[in-house]
């Protein structure tokens, strides 16, 4: 006898109380992004940098191979290698594309389809919701920065046969991608909540990336002052990389200052997201 014939039936189980209420949002988001059209193409492109650097690490151990000469020269310094891997223009561009692909629609779609009452009528706080959404972008960004960074380190050890790695370098390899990804994920999520139109959000994220960099270069050229790179997404990532890997700063301003814009933008994003969700929740 089916449920309709016998009438409404109660569920006999017990509801769990968990500190990780955001986990279903995370798993659902991961699955949704993976099922998207062009997902594999974007993932493959994002992983291309890792393949090139892996080949370069291998070639550096085989002097008879004469390919990737420029890159192989970098490998003489581990710090330079990993800084270049994390901050190279192509990877940064792909991370922006990945942010757009995995995160632009995360909240804007919920806004467009008025999904907030469905979420917030459940034992879910605003921070659970944001953490769930945030973790989706962070997962994909770390998958193409931190994970290949660690793999690159392991392969380098295997190819050179040496396990020696300085603790500061190891720390930088782990911390830099985390900071970079938290910054990009916060920016993406903050922009994602500005409109219910996903196309608008995608364009906005891309413009922030392109425009901030071009504007910084223009202002630098006019005023001959490197501090303008503080407004550049790419500029800050490069400067932060130099700072954490203990290298000569890319731009002429205290390297620690490069931490400020990402931190300020991330905090602003959290505030904006909480305020916007509260507003939408009340109006739903």
């Amino acid at each position: 006898m089916d449920i309709r014939e016998k009438g409404y039936s109660h569920w006999e189980g017990e509801l769990k109380t968990s500190r990780y209420n955001w986990l279903p949002i995370f798993f659902n988001g991961i699955k949704t992004v993976f099922k998207k059209k062009y997902a594999k193409l974007i993932f493959a492109s994002s992983g291309a940098t890792f393949v090139v650097f892996l080949v370069a690490v291998y070639v550096s151990t085989k002097p008879e191979l004469k390919i990737l000469g420029e890159l192989v020269r970098l490998l003489k310094s581990d710090a330079e290698l990993f800084k270049t891997f994390y901050t190279n223009g192509f990877l940064t561009f792909m991370l922006v594309i990945l942010s757009i692909f995995s995160g632009a629609d995360l909240i804007s779609t919920d806004l467009r389809f008025k999904a907030f009452p469905l979420y917030f009528a459940r034992p879910l706080s605003r921070s659970d919701y944001l953490l769930g959404k945030f973790s989706v972008i962070l997962f994909y960004l770390l998958l193409f920065t931190l994970v290949p960074g660690i793999l690159l380190l392991l392969f380098k050890m295997i190819f050179t046969g040496s396990l020696a790695v300085s603790p500061m370098l190891l720390l930088a390899i782990l911390v830099f991608p985390l900071l970079e990804c938290v910054f990009l994920a916060s920016l993406t999520l903050a922009l994602s909540i500005l409109s219910a139109n996903t196309k608008f959000i995608q364009i906005a994220i891309f413009l922030v990336y392109m425009f901030s960099n071009n504007l910084a270069h223009m202002l630098k050229a006019i005023f001959k002052n490197d501090y303008f790179f503080l407004i550049s997404l790419q500029g800050n990532i490069e400067q932060l990389g130099s700072f954490l890997f203990g290298l000569q700063p890319t731009h002429v301003y205290p390297a620690w200052l490069a931490v400020l814009p990402p931190v300020v933008i991330s905090l602003l994003a959290v505030w904006l997201l909480s305020w916007r969700i509260k507003k939408a929740e009340a109006g739903s």
Binding site: T32, F113, L118
Partner: protein, 308 residues
């Protein structure tokens, strides 16, 4: 009887607009209709109960949890069917219902199994693997009911549950609500402006007007004795006649040309109608006592709470 909702002097303002003013309400277990004209504060009250809004004054308890506190624990026991057309796109109905069950605290496998059950129950068994974006309005209403039921809540809040449904769908939805209400452990509050929906599912109603409780009693009591309803047809100078009726605190509604429905306060004799007609030179050509409907009772309560 145990109270499920106890509110005392609750107020809520949207800026300068008083949406809820000093509202005091005690609801025992059972099924209740929440009625009121547009802007009466029904949806605001539901949002306060869910913790979407925090009252500007007053205090209360829902299922033993203090209002505006412990939202997570409270919401674990509440199922909410919103009025707005809401969904999470890119998912089929089973995944969506199971996902929302998981967010309520159900284990994943249990949520999936239960999602199948509730979708079958609401009549979406054939289309449960279809993307929810492709659903019709009626199917979306059923899906909203399914997601509200998936975690088997103690309190079900239904905001305009039959909105946008065709007559058959509406009948089935009301049957489902009726069936759920038969389970004594489930308490239901239905907010609707469709009075027949409330009349067919609830025995008790709460009528709101201008952010206050205008009445809180059983439909039977509401329709009983405090006023009589007559249908009359008049010929002659109607304006003066109706002016006289208004002075008697009667409510006049025009049904069709020259046919009027008169709501006469219980303490006034029907003879007063004839006296008024005689004195104003109007002829009553048709006079019939009518059955009191919930709509009549509702209109009467609103009129009285407006101070007419």
């Amino acid at each position: 009887m145990k109270e499920i909702i106890q509110l005392e002097n609750i107020s809520f303002n949207y800026g300068r607009v008083h949406a809820i003013s000093n509202l005091t309400l005690t609801l025992p277990t059972g099924i209740f209709g929440l009625l009121g004209p547009n802007g009466a504060g029904k949806t605001t009250l539901l949002k306060l109960l869910l913790g979407f809004l925090t009252p500007t004054a007053g205090e209360g308890e829902i299922m033993g949890y203090a209002l505006a506190e412990k939202h997570k624990s409270l919401r674990r026991g509440i199922g909410y069917m919103p009025e707005s057309d809401c969904s999470i796109p890119g998912m089929d109905a089973v995944s969506l219902t199971a996902y929302l069950g998981e967010l309520s605290g159900m284990p994943r496998q249990e949520a999936m199994k239960r999602a199948h059950d509730v979708l079958y129950y609401v009549g979406l068994e054939e289309s449960r693997y279809r993307q929810v974006d492709t659903y019709s309005t009626g199917m979306k209403q059923r899906l909203k009911l399914a997601q509200a039921l998936v975690h088997d809540p103690k309190l079900l809040l239904l905001d305009e549950p039959t909105s946008g449904m065709d007559p058959n769908g509406r009948k089935e939805m009301l049957e489902l609500i009726h069936d759920i209400a038969k389970k004594e452990s489930m308490n239901i509050i239905i907010s609707s402006h469709l009075l027949p929906d409330i009349e067919s599912t609830c025995q008790q109603v709460v009528i709101m007007n201008k952010g206050r409780i205008a009445a809180e009693e059983s439909i039977a009591d509401l329709k009983k004795d405090n006023f009589h309803v007559f249908e009359i047809k008049v010929v002659g100078e109607q304006a003066l006649f109706f002016e006289r009726l208004h002075a008697l605190r009667c409510q006049v509604q025009e049904n069709e040309k020259a046919m009027f429905k008169i709501l006469l306060p219980g303490e006034i004799s029907p003879a007063a109608l004839f006296n008024a007609a005689y004195e104003t030179g109007v002829q009553i050509r048709h006079f019939r006592q009518s059955r009191t409907t919930l709509e009549d009772a509702f209109m009467n309560v609103i009129r009285e709470s407006d101070g007419h």
